[in-house]
């Protein structure tokens, strides 16, 4: 059974294409004002385009798939061929949909811009000069609304703007109005097609610049421009698919995820489901003097004997981790207490920080009793209501996901980049989850076995959550019945970004942080990937997620190794942002499993 985020982007490819279609209609509006009969011609063109695309999609996928991209193609073709008889445009749309798109594999697989191919075919049958969009005040809304689409291929658009500006300054474009209108239409609408234009920064910038400048200084820009664009499409195809130029130089943009839980009262009472027996050494010494009576070796022995594990999600033996840091030969050692809790579905660490503050501080002092740290940090997202003595530095991290991941956190706190294959503890950097620190306190001061943990139990239908103390090994369904009785379906996992359906006999494990009642998330698994690369640009590990997923779908397990899926930290972001609704993190997880076998 695969894991997946329970929350997702609300946007899909179809939403974006529909928005694009509406914006292009705004460019057609002035033409329709002049000649209303063109509306009917456009409707016919649109209908033919949709029918062709839907039919081809049905033959390929054995079901109807959304054809809104065909509507966009028809609208672009209409905009760049004003005054041309309808039947020429029908030939053009046939070439666009069938020759330029479907023969290559359909939406997302074509290497050339279909509308531009259709335009060139029309030029072949009906020579004439078309293409420039005539300026008009009625275009202002369309121009403004075109701007957001730049985010798909910003470097290409920027290069195109610069090229066009240079052409204008050298007198090859007659008016600034034509410059503005055509730069916006072609730069924001046509050249931001994520399927046919490479996301590479440098190549996009240079390509856009040349396409903006050279046609304008040539004899026949109406032909040279589309030819250059199609050549660039092929260059993009070669770069992205055959030369495997690393996409890691794409700009990584961290993602902020909106918390699905409404403002939770972090002083709420704990729900304690542990049936604690009293066979525990309840020797609560006064303050820290008790700890001073223990040697570092005794402290480590207690931590080991009470089986303290990493409670942040990975479940490593904490004593081993501390010993690794202890034996590191680095001059300076650091302790980072990780209370970031970046998963948007979790609240228990935040609760602990506000309700078990003193015990956590004692836990920190226990660890620093074992070794000398140059600095001790407490990493949090929100410093409200947090106060610790001055020997603990509070470090506020940015509110992005997943800033709580160990190596990302080290980079934020210490400004050090730790390579994938390196263990931070060996470099003298000890990162411990705040609940682990609490567990250390309990193991040393109370001689208590670490067989309990604090987890978040949430009802995402009502956006409520509770902090619950449970025994490791307890039945998940039983826990849920105690907190939210009678609710279904139930999910569990490391957090809201990494959850799976609960089976009847599932129990709380080392890595269980989260139980929730929620609606089943919708992963529609559309076959129409638009190559937007959001999955890749949002991956904190710089993985080429789309390629890994493709290879896993085709079961090419040997080929997937070169893309280093073992670097995946299972944050679930790729599934969260996928505009075609694919559970990409599960595929990357499968690839990771194959490589680590």
């Amino acid at each position: 059974m695969r894991t997946y985020p329970l929350i997702r982007y609300r946007w899909s490819n179809e939403h974006i294409m529909t928005a694009l279609f509406i914006v292009i209609l705004m460019y057609l509006f002035p033409l329709w004002l002049q000649k209303p009969s063109d509306i009917l011609a456009f409707l016919v063109l649109l209908a033919v385009s949709l029918i062709l695309d839907a039919a081809a999609g049905y033959i390929r996928h054995k079901r109807f798939v959304c054809s809104v991209s065909a509507a966009v193609t028809a609208a672009i073709l209409q905009a760049i061929t004003p005054g041309i008889p309808l039947w020429y445009k029908l030939i053009g749309i046939f070439a666009a949909i069938i020759v330029a798109k479907q023969i290559w594999g359909g939406t997302g697989k074509n290497s050339m811009n279909p509308a531009i191919v259709g335009y060139l075919v029309i030029c072949f049958f009906n020579s004439g000069i078309y293409m420039p969009i005539e300026p008009s005040l009625f275009l202002i809304p369309g121009l403004v609304l075109s701007l957001p689409f730049i985010i798909f291929r910003p470097y290409m658009t920027l290069g195109y703007f610069i090229g066009m500006l240079l052409a204008y300054l050298s007198g090859d474009i007659v008016s600034w109005q034509i410059l503005v209108v055509n730069s916006m239409f072609f730069g924001c609408i046509v050249m931001t097609d994520p399927v046919t234009i490479t996301p590479q920064k440098f190549v996009g910038l240079i390509g856009g610049f040349l396409i903006g400048l050279l046609p304008m200084i040539s004899v026949n820009p109406a032909i040279i421009f589309p030819m250059m664009l199609l050549i660039f499409n092929l260059v993009s195809y070669l770069i992205d698919d055959y030369f495997s130029i690393a996409r890691r130089n794409l700009f990584y943009h961290p993602i902020k995820i909106k918390y699905p839980l409404k403002k939770i009262n972090l002083t709420m009472p704990l729900i304690d489901l542990t049936l604690r027996d009293n066979n525990v050494d309840e020797k609560r010494a006064d303050g820290l003097e008790y700890m001073n009576s223990l040697t570092p070796e005794m402290v480590l022995e207690r931590i080991e004997a009470n089986e303290v594990l990493g409670l942040g999600g990975e479940g490593f033996q904490t004593a081993e981790k501390i010993k690794t840091a202890l034996t590191s030969n680095m001059d300076k050692k650091y302790l980072i207490v990780n209370a970031v809790e970046c998963d948007p579905g979790l609240i228990h660490d935040k609760w602990l920080l506000r309700n078990r503050r003193e015990d956590i501080y004692k836990g920190i002092k226990v660890i620093s009793h074992c070794m000398d740290f140059s600095e001790i940090y407490l990493a949090v997202k929100n410093t409200e209501d947090i106060s610790f003595p001055n020997d603990i530095k509070i470090h506020k991290v940015k509110n992005y996901y997943p800033t709580g991941y160990e190596k990302t956190l080290i980079k934020s706190v210490l400004k050090k980049k730790i390579p994938v294959d390196f263990i931070p503890a060996k470099l003298g950097i000890l990162v411990l989850n705040v609940q682990t620190v609490l567990s250390i306190y309990e193991a040393v001061f109370l001689n208590k076995k670490a067989d309990e943990k604090y987890i978040t139990v949430a009802n995402l239908k009502d956006n409520n959550a509770a902090v619950v103390k449970v025994k490791i090994g307890e039945s998940i369904m039983k826990i849920l019945e105690s907190v939210y009785p009678g609710e279904y379906p139930v999910f569990t996992g490391g957090g809201i970004m990494n959850a799976h359906n609960v089976e009847e006999d599932d129990i709380v494990g080392k890595k269980t942080n989260f139980i929730a009642v929620s609606k089943m998330p919708r992963y529609k698994e559309s076959p129409l990937c638009s190559n937007c690369n959001l999955c890749t640009t949002s991956c904190p590990q710089g993985l080429i997620v789309q390629r890994i997923a493709e290879l896993i779908d085709k079961e090419k397990y040997e080929k997937v190794k070169k893309y280093r899926p073992e670097k995946c930290i299972n944050c679930g972001l790729c599934s969260y942002v996928s505009l075609c609704g694919r559970n990409l993190s599960a595929r990357v997880g499968e690839a990771r499993g194959k490589v680590l076998l």
């Binding site: 009847e504 609606k519 499968e590």
Partner: protein
């Protein structure tokens, strides 16, 4: 046509025969529609797959309990096999996905075994948007 929501789906648990990894979109859409309506779903498919996002049982004998309502999303031949299994397992109602799943002879066989039948896509009952409209015109909502 009976009102499926009120008269057929009288229990909050359902057996989903034919949950498929080959048609994940349809299976997951229907699964989600059932769960969003508050129903507990037990998907069954004898073929294992790593591509399932939910727990899928390989046989009815693995189920912790057998619900009294079953939904069958299979072709006619496999639907017949499924009905044979369901006859002796306490299922009282079967919803077939469409006419091709259950021809008249299969429906008669079910009725003779005391199993109430209906033929409709569950999206017409539990879906939203156009599915709702479809269900309204089909008279099943």
């Amino acid at each position: 046509m009976i009102n499926l929501k009120n008269e057929f789906f009288t229990e909050k648990e359902i057996l989903f025969m034919g949950y498929s990894s080959r048609m994940p979109q349809l299976s997951s859409m229907i699964y989600k529609a059932f769960t969003d309506a508050g129903m507990k779903v037990y998907p069954v498919n004898p073929k294992t797959s790593k591509k399932y996002d939910v727990k899928v049982y390989q046989d009815i004998s693995e189920l912790p309990k057998v619900p009294s309502i079953a939904y069958i999303l299979l072709d006619n031949e496999n639907a017949r096999t499924a009905v044979q299994q369901l006859k002796d397992s306490g299922v009282k109602k079967i919803l077939f996905h469409r006419g091709k799943t259950a021809d008249q002879s299969l429906l008669d066989e079910c009725n003779e075994a005391g199993i109430e039948t209906a033929v409709a896509c569950p999206m017409m009952v539990f879906g939203s948007g156009l599915h709702k409209l479809h269900g309204f015109f089909a008279g099943v909502r």
